[in-house]
Symmetry: D3
Subunit: 257 residues, 6 copies
């Protein structure tokens, strides 16, 4: 019988813990390794809606990108979102595991999937250390910025984009799913003219303009969510006896107007 | 219908949060304030055995002195004692609240109960700040140390005591339930010849000998547990419709040989 | 003859230094207090374009909201944006002064102007300390969220908005120009159903949804820029002999798609 | 003529300074390396009684396990125990040297002597780093806990023991003289069922119970003092012309009741 | 019989401990308060030469400005200067007390004596806090710098001076015995044209030149030593039965060439 | 056409940035690498007088030992010396570069030039790490201290010296230009009897006396300034088309009396 421990062992091969950032929290964050597993729900976040969906479909395990516990809680009560999630999981015998910055960095992880989704070619890691790194760069056929914005919006299913025009056509593109605008200089130094990431702040847009870099905020959810389907697929392939579902209820809560 | 919130409000009157130490964690540590309560289990610690006892007797709430969560956990799994307690409480719908250093300091709390149990008279707070403080001092009829050791052992139901003889008869006695040996100098400066506390280390016994202070380790459990019955009694008196039980299974795990 | 020192003294009456945050840098950041002033340029930021515009119109002083120097520079060279701005100002004899978080907090400053621009009524400071505070709250006629989004977009001249729907109609609105999403809980505790600010991150949108708060990102530039015209007007009124111009070239560099 | 320097050089071969913990203070802590030595007093602690005994027997040197100076003193006066010891030594021309955590770790040091005293066989270092480590593990014939407690009490001349029953017979035993309860997990991971150390606190007894480990507090003095005789013997053998005495007055000041 | 404690009590009236800097170490630094005192040696520093001189004249106590212990020692051996001093004092039964930054600040202390020695009039504390402060300012008849340099050299018995010419005549003079160059701006803001202190570094001379301040380095020893005679006198007057001597051997070790 | 960048590249070969201390600030500190250079002013410090001299002679670049910016400035105004220097340089189009602790350490840098100026032979780096280090040691014919003091004063053009007599003749001499007295123990351990440096404080002179080391303060300016001519010469030799001048106005501002 397959258990949570087996899934965790396989996840470690896809995104080893040694690849995570120091401050991150990944792996077995709730439940029991010995729980037998027949159904799994995969989603970007372990929010309450996802926990309920797992219970509704009869899953014993949720696998997410973002960790269930980030700031370690001093209390587990129904007054906080994290407390409600933990109470719900415990009372329904559902375990929760995740791969976060290790999945960002891993080959075939968040950023490789994002690069592939955007159709980049000749994809490489930017500034790899021991073959490992966060950002990816690749190429698209040279085109004007508007043309590339159309591609990004369509491929990532974004409702809207925010961007600054660096004054160059798009050819060499860096990508970093989630909040990676801090890597802007690295992207420039790697020869990129364009950088797709999320959660970009006012001064960062201006920094990009100063650098002559096209900087595109495609949304935290939309730049990371593509990995969910890939992750689900790999787990399903490895464990044919287990039903692996992608969350149908979890979407970005933020809208454009 | 009485809820956890009502009990918590009453507990705040007995041991206000403002009296706790900065590093401490007290109050509502697991569950939901809106849970209706008909049965409560009171104990010194919220360990797994106590959680199970609560479930066995059908309690919806446990009230303890020590906090369920001290070091905030990065994961809630069955691989740690705290993880198992939280998972058990959540899956059984039992809430957990506590009063720790606020109960140590509160009038009628841990240290006043300890002083009373030992039969001290003219009890005062040592070094009160705004009328509030940790240690208590009081008087017994002057007696030799052996006589007082007999009293301590009997009144606190200790299997054994550890002590250093400071070379003086016992008359003015300081008490601090749990690990309070760091307050030794305060006890001396307050004119005490004898100090009853717990968890005393090698160098602290020697420090006491240097100071000419009779220092008695009566055990962490035995110096704090007397407050449990008093606490249970006060809650029962306030909420006559609720059954308040004192843990029958929780005892000190440490033995003498 | 009016000098930079005179303008600075007046600016202190509008936004006293004592109102600034500890980490902030405000006041006389470049040039000389003794410089005679006949023309002033007012803008949100002291970026290079603004510095050039000042020289083009013959201004001896620029007044901005954001500070010329935030991270103190280890070198003043043309390889950084701040270095280029300082070199340009020094070589053109232009001084630079600013009011940042002190202007955010000041009565009639950034946040009062933002509240007025959005048409809020019965405006109050949220959690004032000694009558001073960052966020403002006020009321609009109860309306659905879409209606309010239309107002925000129109009044602040936004190209687009990002928001999360908290599930409530809009009536009590909190505002905080620039990056104030960290004040979300304060806005809720003050009884607001809606909060307008900028630079909002993924997890903050989710936190708002958890709280049932309508959270609107109207852009850092668009929520703070309204104060520029008000500031220019006040200075012009005080110094009739000086020509005070609002920057015509400085706009938000970020666009929506 | 043998000097303090010669003894110190030999002590370094028994317990090299490189083996000490970072926070520790060992070696030449009082006096002069050039002092000629004909008589040495060896004891666990350099307390005042030991200093006086050294003077009484005409020793020029005391060698101890615990350091004379731990917290560096801001004053050397007769108002503190350490001040009195230093004043006494200086005025009697007695030097003081010691080996503390280096002697804990050294082969043939505190923990090897403790293991031997308890009759452990097949003794190994637990988690050695470069062949060096603190705790030792070894085997006794499998026996029930009571039987082993009797052995410990007798061999270490303890007046009493404190312990928790881990629920297993005793076969593989870890030892750590003094305050080593923090190494409990290491002892478990090394396959031990029983751990003998000292200065154990309330929560540590409970942690042991959770781990299923028999944890025995045999006293700080009694777990470390056996090394004194061995150390005296080695020095006497190396320096046949010097009279090496073991303190006759220094005992544990703590008693059981 | 007068004891060290009596002298210490009187010293506290001259230079209360509450006036010392946080980082400083003053008061009873070696020996015993109960030692009877018939002869005292007073000196600026408690160096070995001074300790020997005390023994030679039969003093039971040395009183100094600089503390015997500044960096708390991890060992008391003859390999360090401080170790040799402590060993010598302890073996000769000599106690050591001192008043350092409290004597700098005290009325009639180091800086008042320095001001008086230089003939300043209308002496005031610079920037007093609760009537207490480090630097003093006073007036001399306006004169050129060379004239004042002659006075300083002669009155303080300096072999040489180092100074920077601030370009102004000397009239309002600040003084700070020892290393007080960090107070240069305070001296300027207090309206002084000249500042006498010691241990001045390269960049501080340039800072003074920038400020237009005459800055004079008259030597650490020579700016502080005048207080020694005054202190000796006060103690002798208070304790007529005690012989109070000023060190005859202690001089500045630094020379000019 | 030679630019600032070319000079900077050559300076890097003389004193690589990798040789600087962590806390130091060196290289391109003001202006633009692309500025064409026909005239350079070299000086120890980039003070205002030096900046004005550069403008007077028509230099486009100043090269100094000490950095223009040490403490990064929060404002560039005419109220501070550094602000005035930067404003002057920017308004006159003059760039500023420097080599500080990297030039101290570099072969042929500050300390090698100082050793050569004093006529030391068999010069070696003290405690080199990877062939690099701060202090130098060398030999002079054995002589009494007075004789060596005469040499130092004459060769370094000092108006005066401050020194302590360590009680030994001079033969093995350590040198460290500027504030290197903290390296006193290193100099002793390297077998030197004499150490020439600057900015020496009271307690450091006493430490030297305790160590039996002749310690000579020859002034910060005079121990470092010799490198200026050597640096100017090397740059002139490398760039024959550029006029390289040594500052004629910059001297030590400190005088002896």
């Amino acid at each position: 019988m397959t258990t949570v421990a087996d899934i965790l062992t396989f996840l470690e091969t896809l995104a080893p813990k040694s690849m995570k950032m120091d401050w991150d929290n990944v792996g077995m964050l709730c439940g029991s390794k010995s729980t037998p597993v027949t159904k799994i729900l995969v989603a970007l976040d372990p929010f309450e809606g996802v926990c309920r969906e797992a219970a509704d479909i009869g899953a014993q395990l949720i696998i997410t990108h973002h960790p269930l516990i980030f700031q370690a809680p001093k209390a587990i009560t129904d007054e906080t979102s994290i407390g409600r999630s933990i109470m719900f999981l415990c009372s329904h015998g559902i375990s929760a595991i995740n791969a976060h910055t290790n999945l960002d960095q891993a080959p075939g992880g968040v950023n490789d999937v994002l690069a592939a989704t955007l159709g980049l070619e000749n994809v490489e890691i930017i500034n790899p250390v021991n073959g490992c790194g966060l950002l990816r760069k690749g190429e698209v056929a040279e085109q004007d910025l508007t043309s590339f914005l159309t591609t990004v919006k369509e491929k990532l299913h974004c409702e809207g984009l925010r961007y600054v025009d660096g004054g160059k056509p798009v050819h060499k593109v860096a990508v970093g799913g989630g909040s990676c605008a801090g890597g802007m200089l690295e992207a420039c130094d790697a020869g990129c003219d364009t950088f797709v990431t999320a959660d970009i702040k006012y001064n960062q847009f201006w920094d990009a303009k100063d650098l002559g870099l096209n900087l595109i905020d495609a949304g935290h959810f939309h730049t990371e969510n593509p990995v969910v389907a890939v992750l689900a697929e790999k787990i399903a392939a490895k464990f044919p006896g287990i039903e692996v579902k992608i969350s149908e209820t979890h979407h970005d809560c933020m809208k454009f107007y």
